[in-house]
């Protein structure tokens, strides 16, 4: 169906594939909550009415790592749990992002004992850290917005190059 000049102006938007893909990704992050302590309880509040992260398209909480692209490590990680966390991170499809939520996941917190990992970033790559014990829901929303900024900076060329490696 042919369009007039005016119709094209009001119906067609030009952009790059990259920004269209990144726009879609950043507004439909699917979090995988790895809640092992009180941060996991606090994370539930983020889904509730007051801070409702479905406003940012991130309300589809998946408990399967294979269906999610945002890992939220919420709580202390013991030496018995760390292999599980590594396995879950490796099961997530690319591209993926990681939030380390709260003092325990980021640094071990007050649990400076033989059995608690002193920061999950020693073993898996972390993109955004949230301070707090536990963090307020606003902090988690802020971290989600920071992750969205990161997603916006993605380069599709990185993925194209990886095929030729």
């Amino acid at each position: 169906m042919p369009m007039s000049q005016d119709e094209i102006k009001s119906n067609v938007l030009t952009t790059t594939i990259e920004s269209a893909v990144n726009w879609g990704r950043k507004n439909s992050l699917w979090p995988m909550p790895f809640g092992t302590a009180c941060c996991g309880i606090e994370f539930m509040a983020v889904l509730a009415a007051r801070t409702d992260i479905s406003r940012f398209g991130a309300e589809a909480i998946r408990f399967s790592p294979r269906q999610s692209d945002l890992l939220i490590v919420a709580g202390r990680i013991s030496i018995k749990m760390m292999p599980v966390l590594i396995r879950i991170y490796e099961q997530m499809p690319e591209p993926k992002w990681v939030i380390s939520m709260g003092a325990c996941a980021s640094s071990g917190g007050v649990f400076d004992t033989y059995s608690v990992i002193q920061g999950v970033d020693q073993f898996i790559p972390v993109d955004v850290y949230i301070p707090g014990c536990p963090p307020r829901p606003e902090g988690i929303v802020e971290s989600l917005l920071k992750i969205q900024d990161l997603v916006d900076k993605e380069k599709l060329s990185d993925y194209a190059l990886s095929d030729t490696k």
Binding site: I79, I86, I117, Q122, V128
Partner: protein, 171 residues
């Protein structure tokens, strides 16, 4: 009272095994040698202390006591609502005593926990393996001579690198 009668009966029946009977804050403790533990606890159970409320251990390294390790049994009589603590003392070298799993099924996991954290083994236990720490764990961390921050167990994991995605600047 059931408690007083049982304690004097135990003293009569096992004079060589009883080390001491003490009272603190209204709670009675019977301190015993570890070799007759099964007989003495059977005696308590038949006398009416039929509930094993807790089974734990103490490392006396810095506290002093008859021996280095103590396995502590907290018994409760539902009928007279009285409690008694039985403390069995074990030597530092190869601490071993009989399992009471045959008397109380709940002792199964609690004895595994004592084994995991203190290295005290229980003879004739159905499954003497670790319960809290990973099976590959080396050492018994609630012993007082175990370093509080551990050895290398919490930093001994493979490091997962970023996959396709490149290192982004932190916003």
């Amino acid at each position: 009272m059931l408690l007083e009668k049982t304690i004097s009966d135990v003293k009569e029946s096992f004079p060589e095994a009883i080390l001491d009977v003490t009272e603190f804050a209204g709670e009675r403790s019977v301190h015993i040698k570890c070799d007759r533990i099964l007989d003495i606890l059977s005696f308590f159970k038949e006398a009416g202390f039929e509930f094993l409320a807790d089974l734990t251990a103490v490392d006396n390294l810095t506290l002093g006591g008859f021996e280095r390790f103590v396995v502590v049994y907290h018994l409760l009589s539902h009928e007279s609502v009285e409690r008694v603590t039985v403390k069995a003392y074990l030597p530092e070298e190869k601490p071993t005593l009989r399992s009471v799993e045959s008397l109380w099924k709940t002792a199964d996991w609690q004895e595994r926990e004592v084994y995991d954290l203190y290295g005290i083994t229980f003879e004739s236990h159905p499954n003497m393996t670790r319960i809290l720490n990973p099976d590959t764990f080396d050492g018994h961390p609630l012993r007082k001579d175990y370093p509080r921050r551990g050895r290398i167990e919490r930093s001994d994991f493979p490091q997962v690198k970023r996959g396709i995605r490149k290192e982004n600047e932190t916003p």
